[in-house]
């Protein structure tokens, strides 16, 4: 068995020995003839004894582990007289006993064994010595679901890290680390790819990634200062290994289809609505022209726009290296057709990574990437929202097969999906170079220079078939966003292990970063024709919106870090960063971001010796202040700009007020953690608790509009996130042929607004939500729906606001009111909406202030919250001989969704919207009806306005996110290959949810304050992938 697996990799080989030992050791296959006793001490290279090292007589099942002081004694049996010393995080050693009785061994730390190393800012640490809270995912697990974007692949795999996928092809996923701690758009973390800071990793091929480490706690992230408050995601890409060049290829083909549809009304329901909205009680749904084509024709638009999505991913990589150089070159190609017609995504990227050891002192390297990504997008409003409320009797196709054209702003969703262009293309390149001087064995100096370049083109075009039938004009726009940034860092690193188990590391550096963005917009009010879609064919330009803009932003920083540990028992760390940003006011240009952390590995203490089963017991604590500078440029100054046209003059006006005190958002985060490992690390538990308090929140705060402005950006308040992340990992079964490993994570987060400029809170733009002191972000705000009045007489309350029960006789004639079973003869109050007395068939909205008048000002209340109480995931993987099976479950509980699309159509704000089927069928029609929904009569304005708790749904879900079945073809089969494997992957197989929309999972899409707002986005898909991988 050893032979077979050895070819895979060192990691596996070690694991096998370890496993073998474990399996046999624990189960007690140990009675064998003795031929001698060997003892000794195992220590690390710097002399610290290592407990728990596996000592195994090679080729046998005979083995022991070292005790707390690194000592062991083994009775050798017949067979090979070689001892194998193995321990996670160290290179295994094989030593011939050769009749010695004392064998002392010092193990080298295994730097390549990436499982055990965690990359942090400007360096890496052994995972066991981490003092903060860092979640890591390695390449293998990352690529389990054959993802298109790396973030999406993290879903459910990390505690405290919420990933929200936006389903459309090429739509990037969103990541939220430990709750929302900002009010403005920038909820995303900082990304650092091999040391280079970037805004997103959309252009990264997941296949290029070796590991992703998410720095969740403040102290870990604080070295990145003003960009780190939302956490830091560190990506390490692959690099070649010494040895002969290897070619690795993979081909993945995927088929995907729409997971579920949303209910929409049919023609009968529409006819019913037309009748009921006039106040008629005819709900038969029949019309005189019942045989007319408009009544007879039933089209399911969702059927017309859906298709089998096809995706192909091809990847070819070459890697290798010599003693002094290493290279990695990978090229990936991806082509995806969406499950909705007219949507798709293409990406081509190539990465070349080179590292050279020029001399003993100097090493240098470069990473060059180039990528093209092209998204063929949809106008989601014109397709999904439109189909949800489109009149069912308005046809899609005309008799001659052409599309029915748009009329009265009612788009033809099929034509829009199929014919209009909404492309987003990005041409990106980056270069990242470093030179490292190893000045002394302990001290090095590194200088890096990174450049990112992104040329983004957004093209929109609406051909003649998609514009208004009578007076629509072929129109379009082209936006070019050219952005480039430069980053230069210079830092000293110091790492020394002193005698006696003291080790010290240090870091001191400075960096300068500059960003530029140039935007150019071309807009045409009209094109001559459809033939040519470029802007040489324009008949009329949109003068007011054709133009260009240019923005700059810069950041300058100094930073330092020091750590100290004693025998890996007592660990201390501190960092400091000082950042200056051009974005802030003259009074707040510079910010300081310190952190401290400490750890105590109790399991290394003498008094813990007797707890053999405990392989690790570590307590951690850290505190840090981090910042967020992600707001627009120049927001601190009062500025004038053009664009205010009147009568041929492009007028100038101030568009924002100045604020010289505009400064950073500051997040103070405490993190307390405990790491436990049992049974030789077969079972590991990590628990982290945190309190994150963000102050000086940046937000466009609403101000009295008498000032001429609606908002001003300012540092207006404070928000707190408290939570617990729990992660359990284990390998319950590990035998020669079969292993089962499992990991489970769950995280709880509670959000609370501590302070705002206005104590009574504010409603974010677009409404439906309220941000209020003492409450969580994401609170939905509207009228609380208590049902529908059955009779006119049902609207009756006593003075205290308690509803009276109206009683009717057999002929449905009103008799009297009762209250608690007693006849009520007192004063009767009735609810009014505006000046209108409510009656049978009107919605009952809770009268919050008890004045019997329902109005927006005083009667809205909290009707839900879009943030989850807890989220998590559970992953299992099984290996049996050459087969492997893994599955991942991902869940989210406690979040509400406001069905914005349902609200829009049901309120029929636009007279040609068709309400949803349950709204029409469930509407109140006659006095006495027990109805779920109020009357459809359009003159009852209350029933057509206001955010209403009726449209709040529970967003809880459990998803079987990913199932993967793999088979590795035995090596003997194809001798010319190193390995060949075949996988069947199913993504999004099952979702358990009560939510009726397309998908209970909703990205923020840039609006941190309105989580859980569903205006019907690109729907969810189930995906089946066949994957082939070969290595030569």
């Amino acid at each position: 068995m050893g032979k077979k697996i050895r070819k895979h990799s060192g990691t596996l080989r070690n694991a096998c020995f370890f496993t073998m030992f474990m399996f046999l050791g624990i189960l007690g296959f140990s009675t064998q003839a003795q031929v001698g006793t060997v003892s000794g001490t195992v220590s690390s290279i710097d002399g610290v004894p290592i407990p728990g090292v596996n000592v195994l007589q090679k080729g046998t099942t005979n083995g022991v582990t070292t005790d707390f002081d690194g000592n062991y004694t083994i009775n050798l049996t017949v067979g090979s007289q070689i001892l194998v010393f193995s321990y996670v995080g160290f290179k295994s050693e094989e030593i011939a006993v050769a009749n010695k009785t004392l064998v002392n061994v010092s193990l080298n730390e295994d730097k390549e064994q990436l499982d055990e190393v965690v990359v942090i800012g400007y360096g890496s640490v052994n995972k066991r010595d981490v003092l903060g809270s860092i979640a890591s995912v390695k390449s293998e697990e990352l690529n389990e679901s054959a993802p298109v974007d790396a973030l999406g692949a993290l879903q459910g795999r990390m505690a405290g890290v919420q990933i929200l996928t936006n389903n459309g092809p090429g739509n990037s996923s969103e990541i939220v680390i430990r709750g929302i701690s900002t009010l403005s758009g920038g909820i995303g973390p900082l990304y650092v790819v091999d040391g280079q800071q970037v805004d997103d990793i959309d252009n990264l091929n997941p296949n290029d990634i070796e590991s992703i480490d998410v720095l969740k706690d403040g102290a870990s992230a604080a070295i990145y200062g003003s960009k780190s408050a939302n956490g830091v995601v560190i990506i390490t890409t692959k690099i070649g290994k010494e040895g002969k060049p290897k070619i690795e290829t993979s081909i993945q083909t995927s088929y995907s289809f729409l997971s579920n549809k949303v209910p929409v009304s049919n023609t009968i329901q529409w006819n019913k609505f037309l009748s009921l909205r006039t106040g008629s009680t005819d709900n038969s749904g029949t019309v005189q022209d019942s045989l007319g084509i408009r009544s007879q024709l039933v089209v399911d638009i969702q059927d017309l726009i859906q298709q089998m999505g096809l995706k192909t991913q091809v990847n070819v990589g070459v890697s290798g290296g010599s003693e002094t150089s290493r290279f990695y070159w990978n090229t990936g190609f991806l082509n995806e057709e969406g499950i909705i017609i007219g949507s798709g995504f293409k990406r081509i990227n190539t990465t070349l990574k080179l590292d050279f050891d020029i001399s003993k002192v100097i090493s240098a390297g470069t990473r060059l990437t180039g990528s093209y990504q092209g998204q063929e997008g949809l106008f989601e409003g014109a397709v999904f929202r439109e189909l949800s409320y489109r009149q069912p009797d308005v046809l899609i196709y005309d008799f001659d097969g052409s599309f029915i054209r748009e009329r009265f702003a009612r788009a033809n969703p099929v034509a829009r999906a199929l014919l209009s262009t909404n492309d987003n293309r990005q041409f990106r390149g980056s270069s990242f170079n470093y030179i490292n001087f190893q000045l002394t064995p302990s001290l090095s100096f590194k200088t890096t220079l990174g450049v990112n370049y992104n040329n983004q083109k957004l093209n929109q075009f609406r051909p003649s078939q998609t514009v208004d039938a009578v007076n629509g004009r072929i129109n379009g726009q082209e936006i070019t966003r050219l952005s480039y940034d430069m980053q230069n860092e210079n830092y000293f690193s110091y790492d020394h292990k002193f005698n006696g188990g003291h080790s010290v590391t240090g870091l001191l550096g400075l960096s300068i970063q500059k960003w530029e963005q140039e935007n150019t917009t071309l807009r045409a009010l009209g094109f001559n024709n459809d033939y040519i879609q470029t802007f040489n064919n324009v008949s009329e330009f949109d003068v007011s919106r054709t133009g260009s803009e240019w923005f700059r932003h810069s950041l300058s920083s100094v930073y330092a870090r020091a750590t100290y540990d004693y025998q890996r028992k007592y660990l201390l760390g501190a960092t400091f960063r000082r950042d200056g940003s051009s974005r802030f006011g003259s009074n707040k240009l510079w910010g300081n971001f310190p952190s401290v952390s400490a750890g105590w590995r109790i399991s290394n203490e003498n008094f813990m010796k007797s707890f053999d089963f405990l392989s690790e017991f570590k307590l951690r604590a850290s505190y840090a202040i981090t910042g967020n500078e992600r707001i627009g440029n120049y927001l601190n100054q009062a500025l004038y700009g053009p664009g205010y046209f009147y009568d041929g003059i492009n007028g100038f006006a101030p568009f924002q007020l100045g604020n010289a005190d505009l400064g950073w958002e500051e997040t103070a985060q405490q993190n307390y953690g405990i790491d436990l490992a049992f049974f030789n690390r077969r079972l590991m538990l990590t628990v982290d608790g945190y309190i994150k308090t963000t102050t000086e929140l940046l937000y466009d705060r609403p101000i009295p509009e008498e000032t001429g402005f609606s908002t001003i950006i300012g540092n207006i308040g404070s928000v707190e996130n408290k939570g617990i992340d729990i992660e359990v990992r284990g390998t319950p079964i590990k035998t020669e042929d079969f292993s089962w490993s499992s990991s489970f994570n769950i995280s709880f987060n509670k959000n609370k607004v501590l302070e705002l400029a206005d104590d009574d809170g504010f409603e974010p733009t677009n409404g439906g939500y309220l941000v209020e002191v003492g409450e969580s972000l994401g609170n939905m705000y509207g009228f609380k729906n208590l049902g529908v009045f059955r009779y006119d007489q049902s609207n009756a309350y006593n003075d205290a606001g308690v509803r009276l029960t109206p009683n009717f006789d057999a002929n449905n004639t009103f008799v009297n009111y009762t209250l608690n079973g007693q006849e009520y003869t007192g004063n009767i109050n009735q609810l009014k909406f505006g000046n209108r007395l409510l009656g049978g068939g009107d919605a009952i909205w809770e009268d919050q202030n008890g004045d019997f008048v329902i109005d927006q000002e005083a009667d809205r209340t909290i009707i839900g919250n879009g943030l989850p109480d807890f989220i998590g995931g559970w992953r299992n993987s099984f290996e049996y001989k050459n087969f492997s099976l893994s599955f991942l479950i991902n869940f989210s509980f406690g979040n509400d969704i406001y069905r914005g699309y349902d609200h829009t159509r049901d309120k029929a704000a636009n007279a040609v919207f068709a309400p949803g089927p349950d709204r029409i069928d469930g509407a109140w029609v006659n006095q006495g009806d027990i109805a779920e929904y109020p009357s459809l009569e359009s003159s009852r304005f209350q029933n057509r306005t206001g955010f209403d708790s009726k449209y709040v749904s529970q967003g809880d879900f459990i998803k079987l996110q990913n199932v993967r079945l793999g088979y590795t073809i035995p090596n003997e089969t194809f001798t010319f290959m190193d390995s060949f494997s075949l996988d069947l992957i199913v993504n999004n197989l099952l979702t358990f949810t009560n939510y009726e929309g397309y998908n209970p999972e909703l990205g923020y899409q840039g609006d941190a304050l309105r989580p859980g707002w569903d205006d019907l986005r690109y729907p969810n898909k189930t995906e089946i992938i066949l994957s082939l991988k070969a290595q030569f």
């Binding site: 007011s544 300058s556 100094v558 200056g580 009147y646 041929g648 609606s710 003159s939 304005f941 306005t945």
Partner: protein, 499 residues
């Protein structure tokens, strides 16, 4: 080890030095596509651009509010079978503080803010253009005058403040204080403006029109009459004399290319241009003609119109025997011309679209088009309006015969019979009240859908008299409520009493 330490200290000291000296410069990023206050307002060209932006804010302010404020609370309209909450509330006198489109004053105050800046900055420009400064005063007066008419007292902002602080929270001033500012701005504008006429901006002529409107509102009839006399004496404007010219004062419809929005009666309009002002620049089409309207023209107005100018030959001849029709249609069968009786303004203004109740205002658009493309100008001051105002003023000043003359001047231009020329007496011109009512009715028909009727009723004190029976209008609710979000954003504000 020691060496290293020295090196480290030295290098880091250098590094810090570099940071401290050079990095401050790196952080000094001045805007590229925008300019700061210090740079702007240097030349009269800057002033021109600054004043244009006040008009730009005015466009946004009045795109629907001109009509909502000016006539939606009058007897001109009834709810359709698809009412919207907002228009329903205005028509049925059930306004609450909820209604954004009618009540939110953000754009009005943006207009005031931009005017404030211009008023403060333009005089600092060497040899500044006085006319531009005058326009800024006129625009501020216009905005505050409407605030006065709509809410009474509102917070007063007169200075250019580009920062936000405690002084940005202000309570409402009294109505009188607002009015005082309006009148003083008016005087300033009067002095400064030198342009005699301009179709889309404030000029001497439009100032006279504006002043006469204000004085009429304040019932200062002599002042109004004087201003109107000056306006007439300019001899720059005249009444249109036929159906097509009258129609072309308002029309903006792609079915009538290259026609409309011009004529000798237009003193000043708020100009909209789709290319400059974008989607839904003007709100006229969506208010009056859009696919499913929330309001219809009131049958009361329709009846008033048809009673005054019958449209059947029989009734017409009964009222105006022997008066011939002025417009004709061609009988498709015989090719003969058939006379059409009645007031051609009626045919241009009122169109029955769907059901017999579904009658809409077709003064601006006569066919359907996308509301996104609406860039119909809003007529602010029109000559006929001025002549009819003068008729009112003369009546108040006890010159009914001049009033009658003015009424007839308009009637003749509309090819209509003279007042009291029919078989039934239209009005007793010596009865001041009756004549006032008669003039107001003439105004209602001539100026239908031009945002005047509600103000006519309010300024003459007839709002309760006319609307009370229709929707229970009371004196108390003549002022409008303040939008509830304004009250939330500024705790110093107090709502008007009845709301």
């Amino acid at each position: 080890m020691k060496k290293v330490k020295h090196l480290l200290t030295a290098v880091s000291a250098c590094m810090l030095l570099v940071v401290i000296t050079s990095c401050e410069d790196i952080l000094d990023q001045s805007p590229i596509s925008e300019v700061s206050d210090e740079i702007f307002w240097n030349t009269n060209q800057d002033a021109e651009l600054g004043v244009a932006s006040i008009y730009d804010a005015m466009q946004r302010t009045y795109r629907v509010k001109h009509f909502y404020w000016g006539e939606f609370r009058s007897d001109n309209y009834v709810e359709s079978d698809q009412p919207s909450g907002e228009t329903q509330a205005m028509i049925t006198n059930s306004l609450t503080s909820d209604y954004e489109d009618a009540l939110r004053w953000n754009e009005l105050y943006t207009m005031i803010f931009r005017a404030n800046i211009a008023i403060e900055k333009i005089p600092q420009i060497p040899q500044f253009n006085e006319n531009l400064l005058g326009e800024a005063y006129a625009l501020r007066a216009y905005a505050y005058f409407d605030a006065y008419r709509v809410w009474g007292g509102v917070p007063l902002f007169k200075e250019a403040a580009l920062t936000f602080d405690d002084s940005s929270f202000r309570p409402r001033s009294t109505a009188q204080e607002v009015l005082d500012l309006v009148l003083s701005d008016l005087a300033q504008a009067d002095e400064l403006i030198t342009t005699s006429t301009s179709p889309y901006r404030f000029s001497k002529a439009s100032m006279l029109a504006f002043k006469s409107k204000i004085f009429m509102f304040l019932q200062r009839y002599q002042d109004a009459n004087d201003a109107l006399d000056q306006l007439i004496a300019l001899n720059s404007y005249s009444l249109t004399k036929d159906r097509v010219s009258w129609r072309n004062l308002f029309l903006n419809d792609i079915a009538f290319p290259d026609q409309g929005q011009e004529g000798p009666e237009l003193i000043m309009s708020l100009k909209y241009d789709f290319e400059e002002d974008g989607n839904r620049a003007s709100g006229i089409y969506s208010i009056f003609f859009q696919g499913v309207p929330s309001v219809w023209i009131s049958p009361l107005v329709q009846n008033k119109w048809l009673k005054r100018f019958p449209i059947t030959e029989e009734e017409w001849m009964l009222k105006y025997p022997g008066v011939p029709a002025h417009i004709f249609t061609t009988d498709p069968a015989t090719g003969n011309e058939i006379p059409i009786y009645g007031d051609w303004r009626y045919y241009e203004t009122v169109t029955e679209v769907g059901s017999p109740q579904d009658i809409r205002v077709s003064k601006y658009a006569k066919t359907n088009y996308s509301p996104a493309e609406d860039d119909t100008n809003i007529v602010l001051f029109r000559y006929a309006d001025m002549l009819l105002l003068k008729a009112e003023a003369e009546n108040q000043l006890d010159h009914p015969e001049i009033a009658l003359e003015l009424l007839n001047q308009v009637r003749v231009s509309r090819e209509l019979p003279l007042v009291n020329s029919g078989t039934t007496l239209d009005v007793d011109i010596n009865n001041k009240v009756a004549l006032e009512n008669f003039i107001l009715d003439e105004r209602q028909l001539e100026l239908f859908a031009e945002g005047t009727r509600w103000w006519d009723l309010v300024r003459t004190g007839k709002a309760v008299e006319v609307l009370g029976p229709i929707n229970g209008q009371t004196e108390g609710t003549i002022d409008w409520p303040i939008y509830f979000r304004h009250l939330i954003d500024n705790p110093l504000l107090e709502q008007n009493e009845p709301y």
